[in-house]
């Protein structure tokens, strides 16, 4: 590797890690929106993945290649527990319920000794490698692409368009909603584990309401047409604050204006391409 590239990667490694992790988070939002569910528990799943994996590394001294797959266990268990009652809710009620659950978890992290209270957990060894982040991101995009172009993806799109009609046509909507929620928990849990093991510190406020909305904005900006769209949305919104650094004081205002304009004028997202399904 040439020295300049090495320097560049080193100088920007935080941004490079954030792009990969936020891409995974965008996909975890995408899978639930793809079946028409406005479920905003992704930040909560991420927090569960981050805290549980950090504790496995710090307290149990497990090797990272074991911690990474195990980091999905707690988020998935949580998704199973909340899935049954919350999936009966629709639209904005589901959004409120899932945000509320996230806040409950945040209060727990703040008050439990094992999670370090308000100080969070620090000194987490930086064991996640860039290739792991992008390997998982690539695998997730590929898996979701394959599902999306199949008959399962067709049924998911039908659910998104009209849940009642899809159910009457024989689509088992409860199973699909649960499947989407579990996939969302897996992706966000992995993202949480990876981010905890590149930043060495995690705290309760990283997984509250604000990140939940940020993750939603990735998909709003990117669109739902293909799994690439939300990832692109995440990348634009992750890079924007960096690119707008020159504007210092009004940086966040500009960031907000760009999101509002995108939602107003690009209702299909910045990548409104629809997935093509070959008819056998």
């Amino acid at each position: 590797m040439p020295t300049w590239l090495d320097d560049l990667l080193y100088a920007y490694q935080n941004v490079i890690h954030a792009l990969g992790v936020n891409g995974l988070l965008a996909l975890s939002m995408y899978v639930v929106l793809a079946v028409g569910q406005l479920s905003l528990g992704q930040a909560a799943f991420m927090g569960l993945g981050a805290y549980s994996s950090a504790l496995m590394t710090l307290k149990l001294k497990l090797p990272f290649l074991l911690v990474l797959p195990l980091s999905v266990v707690v988020p998935v268990a949580f998704a199973l527990a909340i899935g049954v009652p919350t999936l009966r809710l629709a639209g904005v009620y589901l959004a409120i319920a899932t945000i509320g659950l996230g806040e409950v978890l945040r209060a727990l992290y703040l008050n439990l000794d094992i999670t370090g209270g308000a100080l969070g957990l620090s000194g987490i060894p930086e064991r996640a490698e860039t290739w792991m982040i992008y390997g998982l991101l690539g695998a997730a995009i590929l898996a979701l692409w394959l599902v999306g172009r199949s008959g399962v993806g067709r049924a998911m799109e039908a659910m998104r368009e009209d849940e009642t009609a899809a159910q009457v046509m024989g689509v088992p909507i409860r199973r699909y909603k649960m499947g989407a929620l579990l996939a969302s928990a897996v992706l966000a849990g992995l993202a949480g584990c990876l981010s905890a093991h590149v930043s060495s510190f995690i705290g309760p406020n990283e997984y509250g309401f604000e990140p939940a909305v940020t993750i939603l904005s990735y998909v709003l900006l990117g669109g739902l047409g293909t799994p690439l769209a939300p990832v692109l949305g995440a990348w634009v919104l992750t890079l924007l604050p960096e690119l707008l650094r020159g504007f210092s004081d009004i940086r966040l205002v500009l960031n907000g204006v760009i999101i509002v304009l995108a939602v107003l004028f690009l209702p299909g997202g910045i990548l409104p391409v629809r997935m093509r399904r070959r008819a056998a």
Partner: protein, 272 residues
């Protein structure tokens, strides 16, 4: 001789809402084959009845049996898998998807390849998908939409969207097809060609339909059930429905019914 098993049997079917009984202890049977119509004035409970049969509304009391099997507690998708198809009064095609994809969605309950073989397009899935596409195209052909298979469903005309709904419901060859006001919003020419289409479904499936357009109902039905204020007030052949006093009263009020009855006694033929 024992009567043939009814395709659909409703027993004491009731749905109460706060302060209102939308469907009141309805007992009704649909025999296999032919076209059975449910008619009644606005608010008679026809759509609530349909929604209970397809599983979208939970009955307050009563039982629903499809082909002898109790389906009262089954979710709509399970009923679809047992051979129940339906269309909606307000069109509900998947507007953003293609016409063919709409019809393929109707076949969802017929697809059995697992997630893995579906996603990886293994041979079992390909075989199944090819058969499904053939079946979906046949259904589109049936309603005359074969030439528009690649259109976006939302770009179809109103009449064609109704036809697509029928194709989507017919694709899996349901035993019982529920049509919820299929002629609503159609002009006379469209209604006529829809009647031809529904007649052509005879022999392929059993049709149970809800309709306001009386001429249309009389034209295509073999049997008519009349609901009023949630109660079944008459059931019989279409020809007899028109002269049934209870039906006339439900539609035209008791004064007109009484006048018509008096007129009939005096040897004057009732209008219509």
């Amino acid at each position: 001789m024992t009567p043939a098993q009814p395709l659909l049997a409703l027993q004491g079917l009731t749905r109460r809402y706060a302060g209102l009984v939308a469907v009141d202890t309805v007992d009704m049977q649909v025999q296999p084959g032919g076209v059975h119509a449910v008619i009644g004035p606005n608010g008679a409970g026809k759509t609530t009845l349909f929604n209970m049969v397809s599983g979208l509304v939970v009955p307050s009391a009563g039982r629903i049996a499809l082909n002898g099997q109790d389906v009262t507690a089954l979710a709509p998708d399970r009923r679809a898998a047992l051979g129940l198809g339906r269309t909606f009064q307000n069109i509900r095609v998947f507007a953003g998807m293609t016409v063919l994809e709409n019809a393929l969605t109707g076949l969802h309950a017929r697809l059995h390849a697992g997630l893995l073989s579906t996603v990886l397009r293994l041979p079992r899935f390909r075989l199944e998908e090819r058969a499904a596409v053939e079946q979906a195209r046949a259904a589109l052909d049936l309603v005359g939409l074969a030439g528009k298979a690649d259109w976006r469903a939302g770009a179809l005309s109103y009449g064609d969207q109704r036809r697509l709904e029928i194709a989507r419901a017919m694709a899996p060859n349901p035993r019982l097809l529920l049509l919820d006001e299929p002629a609503a919003g159609m002009n006379p020419a469209e209604t006529e060609s829809l009647a031809t289409l529904i007649r052509s479904l005879r022999g392929r499936t059993t049709v149970l339909l809800v309709e306001h357009d009386m001429g249309f109902v009389m034209d295509i039905s073999d049997r008519v059930t009349v609901l009023n204020f949630g109660r079944l007030i008459y059931e019989g052949a279409p020809a007899q429905v028109r002269s049934e006093p209870a039906v006339i009263e439900a539609y035209l009020g008791h004064k007109v019914a009484a006048r018509l009855a008096a007129g009939a006694k005096a040897g004057v033929r009732g209008a219509g």
